[in-house]
């Protein structure tokens, strides 16, 4: 199935975008969790502060459906 990873900040380069400046398209086996997807692209989840799908916060155990976009938020800590 197809999922999309989207990221800004310092995570953007880590996901290696190929759809647009922020987005990477991935073909993966169904039933994979976000944690497994991050492992698949060798991205350490410690760099991800938050993750959400379709406007709802998720965690690493969430298993995205075909076509969903997972947005990965880097640490946002400045002021």
């Amino acid at each position: 199935m197809t999922v999309f990873l989207k990221a800004g900040g310092n995570l953007r380069a880590m996901i290696k975008p190929d759809v647009d400046h922020y987005t990477r398209k991935l073909e993966i086996e169904g039933g994979k969790s976000i944690g497994e997807i991050l492992e698949h692209i060798s991205l350490n989840p410690a760099y991800v502060a938050l993750m959400y799908v379709d406007g709802a916060m998720k965690d690493l155990s969430y298993k995205p459906a075909d076509g969903e976009t997972i947005t990965l938020q880097p640490p946002v800590s400045g002021g």
């Binding site: 410690a46 709802a56 640490p75 946002v76 800590s77 400045g78 002021g79």
Partner: protein, 249 residues
Amino acid sequence: MPISRFETERYQRQLMVDGWDQERLKRARVLVAGAGGLGGLSATYLAEAGVGYLRICDSDKVELSNLNRQILYTAPDIGKPKAMLAAKRLYAQNPEIEIDAVQDTLTETNAGELAAGCDLIVDGLDNHAGRLVLNKASFDLNIPYIYGAINEWLGQLSFFNPPKTACLACLMPGDLNAPERTPVFGALAAVVGSLQATMALKYLMTGEIPDANVLLIFRADTMAFEKVTFERRPGCEVCGKAAPSGTRR
């Protein structure tokens, strides 16, 4: 607490805003923790709007690298304590309000004392560890907390007041692995600080929680706002514990 004729003239334009309650703002007491890019901006708008009491806490002195975003300070201020300068500038903008400057670092030990007696905490900090301290004090004292943070082109904010909402530790409980100095610019700090101030004014005048359990994210590089919903985390080490009796509303 009625407002004077002089205040009626000062606040004339906002008194025309539907639902505006100047007397309630005059009674309000707010801790602004941090007087930098976010806190300096939100404190400015809270002062101008006539929030009756502001407590401004910051331990830092002005540095040259602050001046890209921290609107309360100018080049001659370099080396001077921010909290004192901020109080002076805000008082010059609105001498009708009371302002306390606290030149101190926010810690687990003093956070409760700093927030005590306030109706609201507004986050103007520049690090997540400090925000978690603020979040804990907010929970312990049952004082709502308006979180805000920026990094590069990203800004985000939310309103926390457990058990009516989740808390910051439900969402981001630990170290974020963020660098000590994050990339930030002034216009984005102004957007987020201004949104925090708007949220604060709305809450102080109505007592209503604006957008419970929603993280508002602004992506300045694409000019996009996103709302992301979240829930309380049952095992949260801050608000997941039973509250001391009699301390929750």
